[in-house]
């Protein structure tokens, strides 16, 4: 189907749905690299106007990647909930934005609607929204998940404690875990990116985290972010796995480049559930705009729409945590602070609208045009938008992955300024253990109370 829009005597034509979506996308380097971006500012806004006039129903009859070619498209189409879609089925994309901003779209209405939305619908409306719209609507959505604690409640901000070490040295990792706990981090998960993906190495780390959580009786969960096949094997060998991790993307071909497909994710999900170590949310997924293009698996679709499709993959497995690692991929996909900030807010909005428990790795690399001030802005904006969780690394410097993400101190800043508490069970533990003098005031105990463990 060809789409067009005429304004002030100029007619803009868009050859198909994916072209319309790509050209309507706010500017970012990855879409230029893929050759799908609007050729100038006027064409971009004209595409947004054409998109605003598009009936939402169009996304049910026309796919950006053919049904026959891609299992993610098949998942999206086959799992679409027509009944819950019916409330907005008469709307255009532009009217849908108005409805989302209206008082009719409250927490309950948005929760009911989520399974009736496809990722392309969420991506489309996000493209005609400003930053304040992305924040306002996301803030109304609530996606609550549970394992040993409850994540995503109103007025809460959780953190993943990320104690990475370049050689997986247990003592080095333990030192970072201790540092993080003493600063109140780790309620979303204590999660290590392992330097080695070997099964025995991963099992060693799993036991180590499990012992820390058991010994200190901490209401949180652990994860070693190995490939899903490694974790499945670790489970088969009896390792204490709380969460099953995998990086995912929005096309079958990009997932294949990660060494996964939906059947394998199902296998991982089943393996995680079989252990019955916590609640029913046993998956931890990571995503990020640009991953499909990076794998040359983008089918000419813009990177933000593909990112939203990754959330359709995630929600099929009822995850505890989904994390968009927004600035990790580099400046050829998101060039500067402005692009990273907008992308982080789009991802969070789309994820929440689709019913996914979104967190964000607010981050950048040293070859991106970004710095700590940009991260402070995105952190503050995501805090206002009600993000479920962020990362916490010592001093914002991940010495294993060589990039900068949010620090333990950063999370405390956001909690103070925006009046956000950790997960309730974890907050109680922080007070019981004497780490926080007052969770309500985000006040750390001056006396450094935890008995320091012996580190080898």
């Amino acid at each position: 189907m060809v789409f067009q829009h005429t304004i002030r005597g100029l007619t803009y034509r868009f050859s198909d749905l994916k072209t319309l979506l790509a050209k309507a996308t706010p500017a970012r380097s990855g879409d230029f690299l893929a050759g799908v971006a609007a050729s100038d500012e006027s064409e971009r806004v004209a595409a947004q106007m054409a998109l605003a006039d598009l009936p939402l129903k169009t996304f049910l009859s026309e796919q950006v990647i053919p049904y026959e070619d891609d299992e993610v498209t098949r998942l999206i189409v086959d799992s679409h909930d027509a009944e819950n879609f019916s409330k907005v089925s008469h709307l255009t994309v532009g009217d849908f934005r108005n409805w989302l901003l209206s008082d009719a779209a409250d927490e309950a209405a948005l929760k009911t609607l989520a399974p009736g939305l496809t990722p392309e619908m969420a991506a489309a409306v996000s493209k005609i929204m400003r930053v304040q719209d992305l924040i306002l609507v996301a803030r109304k959505c609530r996606v609550v998940t549970k394992f040993r604690n409850t994540l995503g409640l109103a007025g809460r901000l959780s953190t993943r404690l990320q104690p990475n070490h370049p050689t997986d040295d247990p003592a080095g990792i333990a030192a970072s875990v201790l540092d993080g706990l003493m600063y109140g981090a780790g309620d979303a998960v204590i999660g290590i990116n392992p330097a080695s993906d070997s099964v025995p190495a991963v099992i060693t780390l799993l036991h180590m985290l499990d012992e820390i959580i058991l010994r200190q009786n901490i209401p949180t969960q652990s994860c070693v972010l190995a490939h899903v096949t490694t974790t499945i094997e670790a489970i088969a060998r009896g390792a204490p796995v709380d969460l099953v991790f995998q990086s995912i993307a929005g096309t079958e071909a990009a997932n294949k480049s990660f060494g996964v497909d939906l059947a394998l994710l199902r296998e991982g999900h089943d393996a995680g559930l079989s252990l019955k170590r916590g609640g029913d949310n046993v998956m931890y997924f990571e995503t990020g705009q640009g991953s499909a293009l990076s794998a040359e698996a983008h089918h000419g679709v813009d990177q933000q729409t593909l990112e939203a499709r990754a959330y359709a993959v995630a929600r099929a497995f009822n995850p505890l945590l989904v994390n968009t690692v927004v600035g990790f991929i580099g400046p050829e996909y998101l060039y500067n602070g402005k692009q990273i900030i907008r992308a982080g807010l789009e991802d969070h909005f789309c994820g929440k609208l689709l019913g996914v428990p979104m967190g964000c790795d607010i981050c950048y690399t040293n070859h991106a045009e970004a710095d700590q001030d940009d991260m402070d802005m995105l952190l503050t904006l995501l805090g206002a938008a009600g993000v479920n969780f962020i990362m916490g690394v010592p001093g914002a410097d991940d010495i294993m992955l060589n990039y900068q993400t949010t620090s333990f101190h950063d999370a405390l800043y956001a909690r103070r300024v925006l009046n956000l508490a950790p997960a309730p069970e974890f907050a109680d533990w922080l007070e019981r253990a004497g780490i926080f003098e007052s969770v309500a005031q985000i006040k750390l105990n001056a006396a450094n109370p935890l008995r320091l463990p012996q580190l080898a």
């Binding site: 003592a171 030192a175 040293n366 001093g395 405390l412 750390l444």
Partner: protein
């Protein structure tokens, strides 16, 4: 004496267990001034490594001093801004460089060396000459024939594919500045590709990473490189199939 507003952490001794920025203390719940500014300086160094142009004249003279025949080249990315956003352009020569290399009509050789700025000019200025000083005698003793050495600006790893193909090299070795880490702005990577030609994938290369004074030494890197070279020539391939613990295959700048 005035009482400090910074609350220190009693676990500072654990700093010896990790290079992570632990036990930084706090002002209220925020980062103390010294920790904040130390971070800013480390980031500034990493940014400068990316953006300060390589001192190509100096590197040219340094390498010529080692007895190498040097050709200067430039990728199709005209400037740093384009280079950062268009990795595809950094993987190809610009037209004048291509013509210059073709005009050499090089005889077949075992190895062609490419020295490229990549994402850190510091890395090349710090490590390239030192590495080659260690490597060239080993290569000579092994009887390997060396083609012309290319000094390339705004280059990515895959630029070596086009250069190696033109120079009729069995193997191309690219020395390149790696993406700077906050504490490692001077890290050089080495990429080895057998039968270089345009379109080779990263899976067909072997990498030796983190070559720098505080990382892998130039002597050790030279030894590993020679091992990879010999194995690659013997087996007629490079990449994942050549992978061993000594030289893992990785993707790079």
């Amino acid at each position: 004496m005035k009482k400090s507003e910074v609350t220190t952490n009693p676990w500072t001794e654990f700093r010896k267990l990790t290079a992570a920025r632990i036990a930084l203390g706090r002002a209220g719940t925020s980062l103390p001034t010294s920790a904040h500014l130390n971070f800013q300086f480390d980031h500034a160094q990493a940014r400068d490594a990316v953006h300060r142009p390589l001192d190509a004249d100096k590197v040219f003279e340094d390498l010529r001093g080692l007895g190498l025949k040097i050709v200067r080249a430039h990728s199709a990315a005209p400037d740093r801004g384009t280079y950062l956003q268009r990795p595809d352009l950094g993987r190809r020569l610009d037209a004048p460089s291509r013509e210059k290399l073709v005009a050499l009509e090089a005889s077949p050789c075992d190895v062609a060396l490419v020295v490229a700025d990549g994402l850190s000019s510091f890395a090349i200025e710090t490590n390239a000459e030192k590495f080659l000083t260690a490597f060239l005698p080993l290569a000579k003793d092994s009887g390997l024939t060396l083609g012309p050495t290319t000094l390339a600006l705004q280059g990515r790893v895959a630029l070596g594919d086009e250069i190696g193909e033109i120079l009729r090299a069995k193997i191309v070795i690219v020395l390149i500045g790696e993406r700077p880490g906050l504490s490692s702005p001077d890290s050089m990577g080495l990429y080895l590709t057998h039968a270089p030609r345009i379109g080779r994938t990263d899976a067909e290369r072997n990498c030796i990473s983190n070559i720098r004074p505080d990382g892998l030494s130039c002597t050790e890197a030279a030894r590993k490189t020679l091992w990879l070279l010999r194995e690659s020539l013997r087996r007629g391939l490079s990449g994942v199939q050549l992978k061993d613990d000594a030289a893992p295959s990785l993707t790079g700048p």
